[in-house]
Symmetry: C2
Subunit: 402 residues, 2 copies
């Protein structure tokens, strides 16, 4: 072995840490553990029976293509299906506006690779999705956090940062927003707020990256239009994924955007993994073609609505007064907040050991090092009974430790 | 759309070009075209029937796990199968020495991300695999090319570079070698030569990245031990893949190496795609468990041997005297060389139009901008008849144009 491994690492890798969430996955095997930690969909939501028939058909009729290398842009049938689906929702786009990625985590990585030089400012929410922050960090982004209210990131605070950067002759490479059922906060942004942020993006000539893995999992209220649709000038890059509405094990996501932007992402993707698995792409395309996706999403939303309801009810029932929580209209997550003095990160291992319940400590989602008094709670993975039981245990643990 | 898209691109993406090979794939649909261009395996080599049964079993018995998120390190069963397979070949390793990647292109990308800062020297062959060069380039590597003889990269030339870098207080981040049936040259390195290069790596305290997608596809002669095995100190990082011995459409590769190195690669992979598709990993693991892989590799090697034989015979028969070519003992590629004045890149489009035959112009594989008089020829994808017919057409075209 070489003598100086740690000395020859790139600046990039030196700045990276193992994801707290991915590391937590190790505890998932502990007997009796109730895990509110991952962003895992319920395994009961996977369309196993439908897939059996489809996979058999793919293997009978088009195995040669499905098992071969494919285009970097993605499977044309799958791209067409996704484009048609967005069009049926009223969005204007064509094939050249959509490419496939190896789930949306790769979309985030490639967008970061495309834009970020070491030190470049990027505006993100306080809190925001850890996988997004990690991807941007890995290219050396200077993350600028913007506090959220009950309607998402505050446009006035965004404009303060844009102004102050402009005064220094700078602008952020993009503004990163998860407008629907935000991870981790569970907040959804109103159309008014979306339009205000888009107006800022135009005023300051800045891109928006709209990360949208949960949008269709709405339990109540009105579907909000995507920021991509509201802008409609190519200034918004929209990321989608099958991970929460179909199955994460296929690793399929997509990027919707201006062809000039997608063209560069394709170049970056060529050197990264050549192409997303043509096999899982083709199965997904046939699944959509047969009309299975839309009813499946409805079914998942109903399943998660019940899970959320049980969780919210258990929180009302068991949680100490000093804890508050968000009430998401959809998605997979809510966020719990305690008094300023609370440190959920310090308490996590004890909580797993004593109460056999896991969550994600909120500080991972705050690029400014704050958020120690928060935790992210997932309500999609465990059963109804475990959602209730887990909240009860969590509440008892925190009653003791606040 | 923003006003200055081209101005806000990262330095990384500015330095990247669309891969000549990936771009050529567009022509593959042209009627009657004989393509020697891609690195595509023969579709007849895909184990469609075996896979049908295995996929059905996976869907019946373990769909919940196969369709869910998985560990970043990869599926434990698949890792175990691969480790056992290497051990059965006499290599010493354990589970902590092997992780799964989204095919070996991702392995190359992650190794580059882990080590390369802009301007860092990396030693590569003249010629070498385009996907490797692109991955290293995308992180700003300073590629130092080493000329090959009939036994691969010349150790004396490697040492000259190591010495001269040392005199400047530098050393390369690694030496990139494809020792078996090299892409594009088709050359295999002798054990003596492998040991010489390993000795240099020790003397100058430098890592070796051994890219090994073709090693098991040997048609004749003795299997050479991997450089990883010959070194056995952790100074060699070995990359493997299913793309040429099973199917590329699953996008599964692996990295074998020292745990300290793999640990960092896992951190980088977390921010890149979270995990390689658990679905295709589990199918591959069950395929190996049932003992299908080893006989399949033997069958593919026999198939490609015949394809190579037909191609070499056709070359003897039809090629003009001014062209020479390598005679690979395995793999998928050989390289044709013409007089210094020849420019295969300039002639490629004409060759496709006039002769309806495609190859890859050799200059893409030379980091020093040379190699215009060479071309890479793939013999695995087309049928025996088309291998012969394609060489005939190529020969006729080049007779006219030299």
């Amino acid at each position: 072995m070489i003598s100086d491994l740690n000395d020859i690492l790139s600046v990039t890798i030196r700045g990276m840490k193992r994801s707290a969430i991915r590391e937590l996955l190790k505890f998932l095997g502990q007997p009796g553990l109730i895990s509110f930690s991952g962003g895992f969909p319920a395994p009961q939501s996977f369309p196993v029976e439908e897939l059996k028939g489809i996979i058999q058909e793919v293997m009978e009729t088009e195995a040669s293509n499905a098992l071969q290398y494919g285009a970097t842009e993605g499977d044309n049938l799958l791209r067409t299906m996704l484009v048609e689906r967005y069009k049926s929702m009223g969005m204007e786009l064509s094939l050249e506006n959509l490419i496939i990625t190896t789930a949306s985590q790769q979309g985030l990585d490639l967008i970061a690779k495309m834009f970020i030089n070491r030190g470049d400012p990027v505006i993100v929410g306080l809190p925001s999705y850890l996988g997004g922050l990690s991807a941007f960090n890995s290219y050396g982004a200077n993350l600028i956090g913007v506090t959220q209210d009950e309607d998402g990131e505050d446009p006035n605070l965004i404009e303060d940062h844009l102004k102050s950067l402009k005064a220094q002759g700078k602008k952020p490479k993009f503004i990163y927003i998860i407008p629907d059922f935000q991870n981790p906060a569970g907040i959804t942004m109103s159309e008014k707020r979306r339009l205000e942020i888009i107006a800022l993006a135009h005023k300051y000539d800045v891109l928006i990256v709209e990360d949208s893995p949960y949008r269709e999992l709405r339990f109540e209220g009105e579907h909000q239009r995507t920021m991509y649709e509201l802008d409609n000038t190519g200034q918004v890059i929209l990321l989608g994924t099958f991970s929460k509405i179909f199955c994460p094990g296929f690793r399929i996501g997509w990027v919707v955007g201006h062809p000039d932007i997608l063209d560069k992402i394709v170049v970056a993707k060529q050197a990264t993994d050549l192409c997303t698995p043509p096999f899982t792409q083709r199965i997904a395309a046939r699944y959509m073609e047969k009309g299975f996706l839309t009813p499946k999403i409805k079914q998942i939303a109903e399943m998660y609505k019940e899970k959320r309801n049980v969780m919210l009810q258990a929180m009302e029932e068991f949680m100490p007064d000093s804890l508050t929580w968000t009430k998401p209209e959809g998605g997979l997550f809510l966020m719990v907040k305690g008094p300023e003095s609370l440190d959920t990160s310090k308490l996590l291992l004890d909580c797993i050991k004593e109460a056999n319940v896991a969550y994600v400590a909120g500080d991972s989602f705050f690029c400014n090092g704050k958020g120690q008094n928060t935790m992210r709670i997932n309500f999609s993975y465990e059963t109804l009974e475990k959602n209730r039981e887990g909240v009860k245990r969590l509440a008892e643990f925190y009653k003791k430790h606040i």
